[in-house]
């Protein structure tokens, strides 16, 4: 990616390797499976290696190993963490009941934060924002009204299991079509996003690597 390399030899080598890797991945378009497969495997290896690297060097070593090695008695609260971390890492070889303890902590944290965040961070503020603004001009009021109707119908469609009667069914059906249209709009944004990446990669190969059109 441009901007991440200096103009030295390592930078030139990095740009060349990056360009060749890009061409290798794109060879899939020509039906070349082997190079594409190699690229996928290399990606999996590098990404996993990086994850291990930062998990060890930036989390486990500085926050668990080093404090305990420096002063084992001053950090008593970390000793249970040693057991939990060991149980997690050795999950493959330990009984299910032992591994379930650290997993339970992860699930508890995820559920608690999801619940609090969804209600206080999204549900309540978005319900409040759906209301019609006071003192808006006629144009703004119409927009807000349209937005409110669209939102309400989509929510009804989303929670379709709770609808009752023909009116509810009709509202849910309309909401479903609005949802489909909204997701279509999002697909348009997604296409632009992916096109931007394609153009950037081409620029990397042609301008940064080959030096064309500089």
């Amino acid at each position: 990616m441009n901007g991440f390399f200096a103009g030295d030899l390592a930078g030139i080598a990095g740009t060349t390797v990056g360009a060749l890797v890009t061409i290798g991945v794109w060879s899939y378009l020509a039906g070349e499976r082997r190079v594409f497969g190699w690229a996928q495997h290399l990606l999996a290896g590098l990404a996993t290696g990086y994850l291990v690297l930062i998990s060890l060097r930036e989390v486990l070593i500085p926050r668990l190993v080093q404090p305990l090695l420096a002063d084992p008695t001053a950090n008593l609260v970390l000793w249970p963490a040693v057991l939990l971390v060991a149980a997690m890492i050795a999950a493959r070889w330990l009984p299910r009941g032992v591994v379930a303890v650290p997993v339970a902590l992860l699930i508890a944290g995820t559920a608690a934060f999801a619940l609090g965040g969804a209600v206080v961070g999204t549900l309540l503020p978005q319900l409040a924002a759906s209301l019609l603004p006071a003192g808006a001009n006629p144009g703004g009021l119409i927009d807000a009204l349209v937005g409110l109707v669209v939102t309400a119908l989509v929510v009804v469609a989303f929670l379709h299991g709770t609808r009752s009667g023909r009116l509810g069914a009709a509202a849910a059906g309309t909401g479903r079509w609005l949802l489909v249209g909204g997701l279509g709009g999002w697909l348009g944004f997604l296409l632009v996003s992916r096109l931007a990446l394609l153009v950037e990669r081409l620029r990397f190969i042609l301008v940064d690597w080959l030096g064309l059109g500089r």
Partner: protein, 206 residues
């Protein structure tokens, strides 16, 4: 419903963290802080667990695999190269020049090139989807088409009009749909999380 230590842990720890979110209390905050530290450390350990599983699987494939050994070799090689760059004596880890070079020369281009390919695949998928589920897909593709037109990078009067229309579409119809989606997802998330925390359906049972 089977009750067990993990279920009890989920309920107690989850409710405690939730309580700490709504109540300001120093003792509770200290306890929640310790639990948070454990969760953060366990999450880092989980990453290593996953890497171990992947590594062992690749070693197994290498031992018993037939001709296709290049894949496992590349996975293990990639892991090894990154770990050597991050752990050689004197390495500064994620900020080390060797690690940064591997990331910028290999990791980023690999992923960016894959994502770039998605433009072709999305268009192909749109065409195929049309044959499988026509009415919904037709509406979806027409909406996508409209969004693309509104986002065209044009200047002048036409460009200004398209940009204005694009902002309106984002704020009113698309914004309304996504607000509805966010509200719906928030309700569904809250219900699922509450069921886990209250052990209603044994989702967290051992």
């Amino acid at each position: 419903m089977r009750r067990s230590l993990p279920t009890a842990l989920v309920v107690v720890v989850g409710l405690l963290l939730l309580l700490d979110f709504v109540v300001v209390n120093p003792s509770l905050a200290a306890l929640a802080g310790t639990l948070l530290e454990y969760i953060v450390l366990i999450a880092a350990a989980a990453a290593i667990t996953g890497a171990l599983a992947l590594g062992l699987r690749q070693v197994g494939l290498l031992r018993h695999g037939g001709e296709a050994r290049s894949g496992p070799l590349l996975v293990l090689g990639g892991m090894a190269v990154m770990l050597i760059a991050g752990f050689y004596p004197g390495s500064s880890g994620a900020t080390d020049p060797a690690v940064r070079w591997l990331v910028a020369a290999l990791l980023m281009p690999l992923v960016a090139a894959l994502f770039g390919l998605l433009f072709f695949f999305l268009l192909g998928a749109a065409q195929r989807g049309l044959r499988l589920r026509s009415r919904e897909t037709t509406v979806m593709l027409l909406a996508a088409c409209a969004a693309l037109v509104l986002l065209l990078p044009l200047g002048g009067i036409v460009g200004a009009w398209l940009a204005g229309a694009s902002s309106w579409a984002l704020a009113v119809p698309i914004g309304g749909v996504f607000r509805g989606l966010l509200i719906g997802i928030a309700i569904a998330t809250a219900i699922s999380a509450a069921r886990i925390l209250l052990a209603v359906d044994g989702a967290s049972d051992d």
